[in-house]
């Protein structure tokens, strides 16, 4: 590949990012889509909401697990969505008897989840409900993390679980333990491997980019909701490009 084509590819990439941003911002100006009205229903998240309300009603706990997102890795993106969802979930469960508990498998996520918990309670003037130990790093290797989070599932009066973040196949251990105890499990990840095992084990798996839409569906609003529009626009663009490219090649064209 020549330097010229490399430069062209780089600029095309930058233009794509700029376009993506423009569509997101345009959505803010035109109309922010709202879950339940403008967004297609996501069964897993709908059931999650129901499970959360039943959890609050029964005086039990919601357990949110944010996975093993590394600070400087794209896996952190789904971890950030998890943090936003956590903020929303805390406000939905703050009226309950037992506070939401969070587990993470890396230091940065542990720090951020603790900060998010504090921030969410502070926003609702319920600072006294915040306990630093409600956000925990449960292990530093995948299976150690799963074992530690499994202990939370088993001992903390959990009724509903939401796993959203970067996981590997170890997430199956968590989901299986929760399922064996009759707890509700909704789970999403950016990893294909984790999605494959979650499909078999979790009660409500989130597939593909559904994990990234979770915060928007839980009412994060604003740019979270408009980024779904941008994702849809670019998804159709990609489909058109792939189909067009295949047809082009089929008729003998050379890119």
């Amino acid at each position: 590949m020549t330097a010229w084509t490399t430069g062209l590819t780089d600029i095309a990439g930058l233009v794509c990012v700029a376009l993506f941003l423009a569509v997101m911002l345009l959505g803010l100006v035109v109309k922010v889509p709202r879950p339940g009205r403008d967004l297609r229903p996501l069964h897993a998240l709908r059931r999650l909401r129901q499970a959360i309300f039943l959890t609050v009603e029964s005086g039990q706990r919601l357990h949110v697990s944010l996975g093993r997102g590394l600070l400087m890795h794209q896996q952190m993106a789904v971890g950030m969505v998890g943090l936003r969802a956590l903020e929303r979930l805390v406000s939905m469960t703050a009226a309950g008897d037992r506070p939401t508990i969070v587990t993470a498998g890396t230091g940065p996520l542990g720090i951020l989840s603790r900060s998010t918990l504090h921030s969410a309670y502070e926003t609702h003037h319920w600072e006294e409900r915040y306990r630093p130990t409600d956000a925990r790093v449960t292990g530093l290797t995948p299976f150690a993390y799963a074992a530690g989070a499994g202990e939370v599932i088993a001992t903390e009066n959990v009724a509903a679980n939401f796993f959203l973040g970067a996981f590997g196949p170890e997430v199956a251990l968590l989901a299986d333990q929760a399922a064996a105890r009759g707890e509700f499990v909704a789970a999403g990840s950016d990893s294909v491997l984790a999605q494959a095992v979650l499909y078999a084990v979790a009660e409500e798996p989130l597939i593909g980019e559904e994990a990234f839409a979770a915060a928007a569906y839980l009412g994060a609003g604003g740019l979270h909701a408009t980024s779904l529009i941008a994702e849809d626009v670019f998804r159709w663009l990609l489909i058109a490009l792939m189909v067009g490219g295949a047809l082009f090649k089929l008729v003998g064209g050379h890119p």
Partner: protein, 205 residues
Amino acid sequence: MKAPVSTAVAIGVGGVILLGYFLPVPYLTNLRLLLLQWAVFLAAAALFVAALNLSQHHWVRLTNRHEAGTSGLLLIALWGSFVLGLVYPLHSAAVRGLFRFLILPIGVALLGVLTVSLIYAALQMMRRRPGLFSVLFLTTAMLILLGATALPGIGPIPFLSDTLRPWLAQVPAAAGARGILLGVALGTVATGLRILLGSDRPYGE
């Protein structure tokens, strides 16, 4: 906006990294590399913070006398290993022993539990979620498994091992995975942009 100064710093650094990736300007590239080096050291520090967080949780349990024995043991194991790693080199008998006789068996045992969990989940799948997709899922899983082994007295199963299994893994499975990854990539871009705009800061300061 929460913490405007730190948000502004985050936006600035993120912008430089993003532009440095796309625009081959030497000054920008060097600045990007410098920022990434800082981030690498920060990430290493975060690992230590994670260990502290883990310790704090077990310390609280210890002082509250809530499963104090388990937590005490875990604390001793955690910081004992840490000190052992500092005092003895990696290839010493003490560190090797710790690794071979404690860390490895625990990890392998948990993987064994995972295997049982996954097979059990597969057994229950048709009951929990009966339907065409579950049938497809189970059938594909069984074909992939059978294609990866050799039958006693037969060897690799003809057609399945050399044609069907590679086709299943490389065409439908890989295509589906690619589709999912494209969606994940779009979600990642959206999340990155929200962070760059400073709108995605659920945490406090």
